[in-house]
Amino acid sequence: MKPSPLRIHRPKTIEEILELLSVHGTSGKIIAGGQSLVPVLNMRLAAPRNLIDITSAAGLDELEVVGDEIRVGALVSHRRLERDPATTSANPILADALRHVAHPAIRNRGTTVGSIAHADPNGEMPMILALTGGWVEVRSVRGARSLTTESLNVGPLETCLEPDELITSAVFPALRPGQRAGFDELARRSGDYGLAGVGMILSTDDNGVDRAGAEATITGLKAGFVSVTDIPDIIELDEFVAGTPLSQVSTILDDVISAIKGFIDPGGDIHASADYRRHLTGVIAGRLLKRLSRQRDGGGSPAGGSEMRQEGAR
């Protein structure tokens, strides 16, 4: 279990990275945290001759909330993003999902942008980027471009990035007034990839203006999935929910769950059959929607405790 011979380059600037990529892009790979790539190299599922280690390059570690955008540089670790108070107040779904990404020791080193570049359908963050309507900013010696997740993700573990391109940052939009968002999943062991996971953004007409005690009404709902779709596909569920008062959420649950179960396309493997994953996704979605309807503003599970995790505990 050792990588095959390779050369590691350690560029110090973005320009140096782009130069190296223009020369070695086809025979090499970018390495960021290495938490997806090194296992692949150790198992010799890939044998690039050159690795471009971007971790000591300046200018890639920005983490900022600018207006209604959360800007996450290529070197920001999962852990740093998870703990960033400004990010959590702008959109709590990021930290809510990040708590389910591997273990703390992996999150200390793995980057959120690396996870998006890796495009694993079992990964949480590619889906969260799609669900929030985010995009990535990409550079090469040929120029710069922005890519939405629909254009970035072409298949499982496959993006439309050219071999000479670097993602410099991922941008996640903040929640808008009246929106609530959350994530939940079930994994066989703590830190494993989820058997099934669901993220949701619920929109209401409660936009912070004093409503003289009137109850908020749901105006929209969208959901994204982990491990049960090939790429981060998002389903819009407005038609099933719009106009329902928040307290009446139980009246729409069945419709939402059956729309979701019809939309996803899980595969079966040694860990769980396709039918079981489909069933689980419905259960998680129902609980998440109830949780969001009860929550005051924003969303995100309090202290990281999730109903599924407790109920599904070993």
């Binding site: 279990m1 990588p3 011979p5 390779l6 050369r7 350690r10 390495i31 290495g34």
Partner: protein
């Protein structure tokens, strides 16, 4: 010989790297593809870092990088330059004078074969700094990325709490001595 074969037999790329481990600087010539875990064990003879799975799952190889636990099997030694690496030896290397986490494992019977222990020690050492008074759930979550095939984990959870106790007591002692010192200075 065709191009392919001559490429395949090309000399192994190596580099001179500077590694800071347990407060000491080392200059080493190593193959670029060599993992930090192997350099620690083979080049620096720091065999306390154990290697189980080499894909990030078991946690036996956990070391601290600038104080944060990471997997030494998932980082090239060359990439660990410019960082401070702390192995289990850096936390405590004297059987007569164990560190608080090591003492906690002894007090709580937190190990049997000991293969997993160095990864738990480095993980718990960093965790208790961050969370000096963890709940049972937090303690379990903190060690959930480390596998142990012997103990059944109960005593390792106890060792997390015991570490917190020992560190709190020691912190109190420290601040008392500080106070005495500052009084003496007055």
């Amino acid at each position: 010989m065709n191009q392919m074969t001559s490429n395949e037999t090309m000399a192994e790329p190596t580099s001179t790297i500077r590694l800071s481990v347990n407060g000491r600087d080392h200059v080493l010539e190593v193959p670029d593809r060599k993992l930090l875990s192997d350099v620690l064990r083979q080049d620096l003879s720091l065999t306390g870092t154990h290697v189980g799975c080499e894909h990030g799952v078991c946690g036996a190889c956990t070391v601290q990088l600038d104080g944060d636990p990471i997997r030494s099997c998932l980082i090239f030694a060359a990439s660990a330059q410019d960082h401070e690496v702390t192995t289990v030896e850096g936390i405590g290397d004297d059987p007569e004078n164990p560190s608080d986490v090591q003492q906690a494992f002894i007090d709580s019977h937190g190990l049997q074969c000991g293969f997993c222990t160095p990864g738990f020690i480095t993980t718990i050492d960093a965790f208790v700094d961050e969370n000096p008074d963890p709940t049972e759930e937090e303690a379990r979550e903190a060690i959930s990325g480390n596998l142990c095939r012997c103990t059944g984990y109960q005593n390792i959870v106890k060792a997390v709490h015991r570490t917190a106790e020992l560190r709190a007591a020691c912190g109190k002692q420290h601040s008392e001595t500080d106070e005495e010192a500052s009084e003496a200075n007055r």
